[in-house]
Amino acid sequence: MSASNEYAKTGEFQPIDLLAAAAAREVFDGDVVFAGTGLPMLAITLAQYEHAPNSVCIYEAGSIDGRPIDLPTSVGDARCAFQGSKAGGLYETFYGQLHAGYVDLGFLGGAEIDKYGNVNTTVIGDYNSPKIRFTGSGGNADINSFAKRTVFIMVQEKRRFKEEVDYITSPGWRIKKWPSGEWAHKKDIYGGFYHGGPVAVITNMAVFRFDEEGIMYLDTVHPGFTVEDIKNNVSFDLNVSRVSGETKPPTYHQLDLLYNKVDPEGIFLK
């Protein structure tokens, strides 16, 4: 293979390739990653092939460090456990791994997000008389609360980037202290259980990060979009003072890995 570490040019990659590459960059070598199937799986596998060979992937259904030779479409799949270091149950993944403090990075999704990284995967409208109901938390709230770093992969729409989400499923940087409901910083609520929180949001248009106060800001804009485009697709007052440039496209090497190693069957990459 002569694929190089040069960046591919517009037209030479698809949006999903850029998302996978951007997400893969969030994986550091040695990270223990809690992930779901789909894009997160592409990202972690790409990272393992490329710059993070010692990173490990845990799926919430019970498998640890599997090395699928056929991409799974469910985290409960036998494919996830293939050549794994361990295959157990959810008590192991949620308590023996996540609550125990092993998880460095979580990849998550959501229907709505606010500027503190609070995410809603539960309901649109009033919880007690919903307009639309989604899946509920699943592991989203757990992973966002206990992983050292979480990265959200979302669709960029004004109605999804909200001043206040309809329901905080997954706790970000400023959250509510129950049962009273007063707002507080995550550190104050988690005390000795504090590990970290959201560090990035990757969408089809941009990459966002969180400042020292836990407030979201725009970091990079994907090729083909402007800062203005992003602002038009965010409901809250977005901090754009720290934009660092354009999101790096995938390299030829990454594209080669994605299409020839990570998903040669085209399960997710069409």
């Binding site: 779901g36 938390s137 699943g138 206990f146 085209g266 399960i267």
Partner: protein, 325 residues
């Protein structure tokens, strides 16, 4: 030398009483006791209270069929094959079902506590989430936390301070002790030893936490085979009450080393059951229109089943359509 209590699908469904608190084996679309859920629907069970670490095809279907009054859990969906449980979602929007939401980790802790018979499990997962918002306590809003039902905790959770190491506040989540659990396992021994063949999910906890346990299995095998490696078994015979032998009983969900998930079947279900009329038609075709598991398998046909059958080498099918191919 224990002996198993073998019963039929119909007898098994007959053991469930209206209003029972039920839990299931499996994970989203894996190792769900589907054949028994079909039979529960045929027998018209009502007012069931489901506790699910996470739901899937089997429970979204029970809900669509009107068997369920209360759903407690952390997630309802079929992962990439159906991002939302369309039947639960429809009933939630219509106000036709009582819901109580938890995080996945909360639910795991709750069934673990039930399994070891402690009243609560301590956890700091998902603090700060609206899951803990007292206004959103579905069971309390329905007046069900008054102590009249011994299966429902008097509170959704409790907050306590660490008295030992000053780590701060954490949650106590109440145990769950189902009246009945319905467990699909690929193999049960002739003395009742239970084995699953990949990730164990919460299957052991569900068995231990429940008052009565029905195991529906792919095949009954010699216990001596399972006892060659006791580290691989999930449960002993005295932990379960009834066994139903019923091949392909998890279909359309998957069973590692036996068959894969039937993605087309699941997608078709999700597409067709968005409305109640759609569900009723679908149920007419797949539940009420077939009288037995044998008829159901004939209807699916050999070609479909053979495509789903797992490779003996890999434990999953290499022929099934996945993703875009």
């Amino acid at each position: 030398m224990g002996k198993i209590n073998k019963i039929t699908l119909k007898e098994a469904a007959g053991l469930i009483n209206d209003g029972d608190l039920l839990a299931f084996s499996g994970f989203t679309i894996w190792r769900r006791p589907v054949a028994l859920c079909y039979e529960i629907i045929r027998q018209g069970k009502k007012d069931l209270h489901l506790f699910e670490v996470q739901g899937g095809f089997h429970s979204d279907m029970l809900i669509g069929a009107g068997c369920v009054k209360i759903w407690e859990g952390s997630f309802m969906g079929q992962e990439l094959l159906g991002k939302v449980g369309v039947n639960l979602s429809r009933k939630q929007v219509a106000g036709e079902i009582i819901t109580d939401d938890f995080s996945h980790g909360h639910a795991v802790g709750r069934i673990q506590a039930g399994a070891i018979n402690v009243p609560f499990f301590p956890t700091a997962l998902a603090m700060g989430s609206d899951i803990l918002n007292p206004e959103y306590d579905g069971l309390a809003r329905a007046g069900l936390r008054d102590g009249s039902n011994p299966k429902i905790a008097s509170k959704k959770y409790e907050i306590v301070k660490d008295p030992f190491f000053d780590m701060g506040e954490l949650l106590l989540m109440p145990a769950v002790k189902p009246d009945i659990s319905i467990v699909y396992a690929p193999m049960v021994g002739n003395e009742g030893t239970v084995r699953v063949l990949s990730q164990s999910y919460n299957d052991s906890d569900v068995i231990k936490a429940s008052d009565k346990i029905i195991v529906i299995c792919e095949e009954i095998v010699p216990d001596s085979y399972l006892r060659q490696d006791p580290t691989k078994n999930l449960a002993s015979g005295y932990e379960i009450d009834y066994v139903v032998e019923c091949p392909w009983s998890a279909h359309p969900t998957g069973s590692q080393s036996y068959y894969d998930c039937d993605a087309d079947f699941l997608r078709d279900f999700n597409a067709k059951t968005r409305t109640q009329e759609g569900f009723d038609q679908w149920a007419q075709e797949w539940i009420f229109g077939v009288n037995s598991q044998e008829e159901y398998l004939e209807k699916l046909g050999v070609a479909r089943l053979e495509k789903l059958r797992a490779s003996v080498a890999l434990g999953y099918s290499t022929r099934v359509k996945r993703g875009t191919r």
